[in-house]
C-alpha cells in the first residue's frame, strides 16, 4: 500500500514519517517511531493502554489513523519525564505509592491522568474514578492508582503556587 508523508510534533520534536493510510496512530508510534511505551491492549478503544494526547485531547491512539496526526502535536509517555531524567509528578507518585503491578497499563493511566489533571487539577476520588474509567487495570484494583493521581494533583497544584 502506498505510503504518505506525515509531519507532526511528537513530544516536542518535529518529526516526519511515512505511513500507510490504514495504519493507526498506535502502530505508527510503536512500529515507525519506535516509541514502545504506548501499549496495545485491545486495539478497539476499550482499555486505554494506548492513550496519548493529540493536540491537547486524550485519545485512544488505536482508534486514530496515523495520517490524522498531520500538523498536530502528540504527547506520549516518553515525553513526560524531564530531559534531565526528572520524573513527572504522576510518575513519581505511581512509583512511590505502589500504583502499578505488572506495568502494562501504567503508561496509559499516567497519560490519561495527566489529561485529567490538566482539566481538573484537584479532582475528588469520584472524579478520578470517572476520569480514569476508560483505562483498564487488571492487577491493582485501582486503589493505589486513584491515590497516586490524587497525590500528584496536590503536588502539581502546590508547584504552581
Amino acid at each position: 500500500m502506498a505510503k504518505v508523508i506525515v509531519n507532526a510534533v511528537v513530544n516536542g520534536e518535529p518529526v516526519e514519517f511515512f505511513c500507510e493510510p490504514r495504519q493507526s496512530l498506535l502502530e505508527v508510534i510503536r512500529d515507525v517511531l519506535l516509541l514502545t511505551g504506548t501499549k496495545e491492549g485491545c486495539n478497539d478503544g476499550n482499555c486505554g493502554a494506548c492513550n496519548v494526547i493529540l493536540d491537547g485531547v486524550l485519545v485512544d491512539s488505536c482508534c486514530v489513523l496515523g495520517v490524522e496526526a498531520q500538523g498536530k502535536t502528540v504527547e506520549t509517555i516518553e515525553g513526560l519525564a524531564g530531559t534531565d531524567g526528572d520524573l513527572h509528578p504522576l510518575q513519581r507518585t505511581f512509583l512511590d505509592l505502589t500504583g502499578l503491578q505488572c506495568g502494562i497499563c501504567t503508561p496509559g493511566f499516567i497519560v490519561s491522568a495527566k489529561a485529567l489533571l490538566e482539566s481538573n487539577p484537584n479532582p475528588s476520588e469520584h472524579e478520578i474514578r470517572l476520569g480514569l474509567s476508560g483505562n483498564l487495570c487488571r492487577c491493582t484494583g485501582y486503589d493505589k492508582i486513584v491515590l497516586a493521581v490524587q497525590e500528584a494533583g496536590k503536588m502539581l497544584t502546590e508547584a504552581k503556587r
Partner: protein, 752 residues
Amino acid sequence: MSTTIERSSQYKVIGKDVLRPDGVDKVTGRAVFADDVHLNGMLHAKVLRSPHAHAKIRSIDVSEALKMPGVRAVVTSEDFPPIPEGIVKEEGAAFFALASDKVLFRGHAVAAVAADSPHVADEALSKIKVEYEVLKAVLDPREAMEPGAPVLHEKLNPMSFGARLEQHSPNALQQITSMGDIEQGFREADVVVEREFTTKTVHQGYIEPQSCVVDTAPDGSVTIWSTCQGPFRHRDNTADLLQLPQNKVKVIPTEIGGGFGGKEVPYLEPMAAILSRKTGRPVKITMSRSDVFEGTGPACASYMRVKFGAKKTGELVAAHLYFCFEAGAFPGAPVGGAVGIGLGRYKIPNQLVEGFDVVVNKPRTQPYRAPGATQIHFATEGVVDELCEKIGMDPIEFRLKNVVQEGDRNVQGVPFLRIGGVEVLEAIKNSDHYKTPLEGPNRGRGVALGFWRNGGGMSSCSISVHPDGTVSIIEGSPDLSGTRTGIGMQAAETLGIPFEDVRITVVDTDSVGYTMGSWGSRTSFATGWAAIEAARDVNLKMVERASSIWSVPPEEVEVSDGTFYHRDDGSKKFTFKQLAARLNATGGPVVGSSVVDPTRGVGPAFAANVVDLEVDPETGKVTILRYTVAQDVGQALHPGMVEGQLEGGTVQGIGWALNEEYFFDNDGQMRNSSFLDYRMPVALDVPMIDTIIIEVPNPGHPYGVRGVGENNIITPPAAIAAAIHNAIGVRMTDLPMSPGYVLQALWQQNGH
C-alpha cells in the same frame, strides 16, 4: 486502602516499602514487554483459527496465500514433526502444534502466515482454504458426560495438576476422595442444606495480549522472547514439539503484562519458530484481543452440587461436594487442586468429594488465580451461609467453630503447621467495618472465608559479589507484580546489606538453573528461598575468604548482619564492603548459587471478607458500598505490594461475582470477545478496598513467607452472594450475579 498491620520489627529490609527496581522503567515506558521487541528483518505473523466448534479437517490449501506479495511463509500442523506419544501429549501441550485431523473448539489454531506486515498477514489468512466436515459439538459438561454425547478424543490424559484421575466416561475424568462415613454423618446432623450452583467461563483478563518474537538460526537453534509465566515450560514444550534438544531452545522472558495463570503455556512460540526457520528471519506474533478471548485458556465454568450437615450447636458433621469443571477441548481443569482444598478449611469428620474434569468443544481452560477455588468456595460458602441462617448463628462464630487449626489434618491426612484461619476471622470480627451497623433498604452484608494451599517447587538463583560491595542477583521467575523486589529483599536481609546494594534480574533459560513458573503463589516463597540459600552460600564463601586472609580456621569466623568477624579477636573484622573489596586479589570473586525445591515448607493460608452492598430492585444492579479483606500472608515482604495483591485480587473477584462471563451461542461461538462486551471492573465500579494484613509466620520458611497472590480472589463471589441474600432475601446460586440474573431471582421470589 487503609491497612492495619501488627508488625514484627525483627528485620532490617523485609517489611519495608522499598522502591521496586523495575519501577522507573515501568512509569516511563522504557520497560520492554514482548511486543516491544523489534529485531532487524523481523516478519509479522497472524493465526488462522477454526470457525467451527467441532469439525474434521479434510484439507488445507495455502497456495493462494503464498502467492500474495509480502507473504513469506505459511505453517500448518504438517510442518511439525510427529508428536511422540508420552512426551508432549502427557503435558497437554499437543495442541500448540496446530490442529491436524480435527478442530475441537472455535478459535482452535489451524495455520499461521508470516508476512512483511501484520496487515498483509491478516489479508493472507482469508486466502487459506480449509475444507471442514462439521461434527456435532457438545458444549455443556453434563451433556458431555451422558452416553451418546459427541466424543472429542480417543483417549484422555489422566494427569491434572499433579493428580492422576480415573476415566469416568469418554469425555470425563474423575477424582473421588472421602473420609469417615458420610451417611452416618448426615444422620447425625440437625440441619442439612443442599443446593446446586453454576459458574460461567471467565477470562483472566490480563491487559497485555500473548506475544512473542522467535528467531531460528540456520543451525536450528531457537531464541524466543516471550511474555510468559514459566520460561522453562515454554522451552520444554517448544523443544518437545520441534524435536530439539533443550539447550537448542532459549527463552528470554520479557516483562509480562499480567498473566494470572493464562500465560503458562506456549500458544504461539512453536509455530513462530517454524515460520522463522522457513524464512530465515525473526517472526513476531502478537494476539489480537479477540484471539486472546477465543484462542487462549480462560478459567473453567462449573456445575456444583453441595450438601452440608451441621449440629444445632454449629459443628459441621458431614459434607458432600460434587463438581464438574468444564475443561474445554482438552482435559486439565483444576480438579485435583479443587478436590484438595474444596473442604479443606473446615473440620468435617465425614466427607465425600467427587470432582470431574469434562471436555467440551470450547477453548481449553487454563488456571486463573487459585484455580478452581473461587468456584468451589462460591458454592460451599453459600451453603455455609445458609446453614448459619437456619441455625441462627453468627457467620463468623460458625466459622470460628469449624475452621481448621494447627494440628488438624488436611485431606491428605497431614497435620497443619501453624495457620491463620482464626486470626483472619477475628480480624474481620474486630474490624471497624464489621462493628459498624449497616442501615438502609436493599442493603446487605456478607462474610466468607477462603482457603488456599499455595505452592512450592523448584527455583534457582545465583549472586555475584562485586568489588565495591554491591551484588547482582539472577533468577528465573518472571515478575508479574513485583516479585523480584521481594526476592531481592530476602537476599539483602540474609546478606545484611541495604536493598539498594542489590541489583536483581530475571534472566533467560540458559543463564539460570531450572525454575518453575510464576504461578501457584510460589514465587516470593520458593524463588525467595532460593535467593536466601544463594546468599547463605555467599556468606559461607566470604567467611572462608576472611579466614584465609586472617590465617585462622573458618570455624573461628562468624558472620552477622553483613559483618564478618573473628569470634575471639575483636581486631579481626570486615564489613561486607571491606571484604568484597579484597576478594579479587585474594583468590577471585565470590559467586553464591542455589537450587531449592521447598515443597514441604509451603504454608497454606486463609482470607476472610466482609462486604456491604446495595441492590437496586428496579434494575438488579449491585453496588459495592464497602469491602474489607483480611488475609494471612505469613510475613509481608513489601507491605505496599501485599496490599496491592489483596486489592487487585478482590476486585477481580468482584468482577467474577457481578459481571464477567463468556456468552457462547449454540454453535460454541463466543459472542462477547472484546473488552466492551466482556465487562471487567473499571475504577468507577469499585470502592476503595480496606485491607488487613495478618502475619502468622509460616514455620516452613526461613522468613515466615506464605504465598499471597491467589488467596484474595477466592472469597468475593461467596461474600457478595451472602450480602445479596442479606439485602433482598434471595439465594444467588449462579455466577455472575449480573443485573439480569439478580432481577430474575427477585421476580421468581416475588412470584412473577
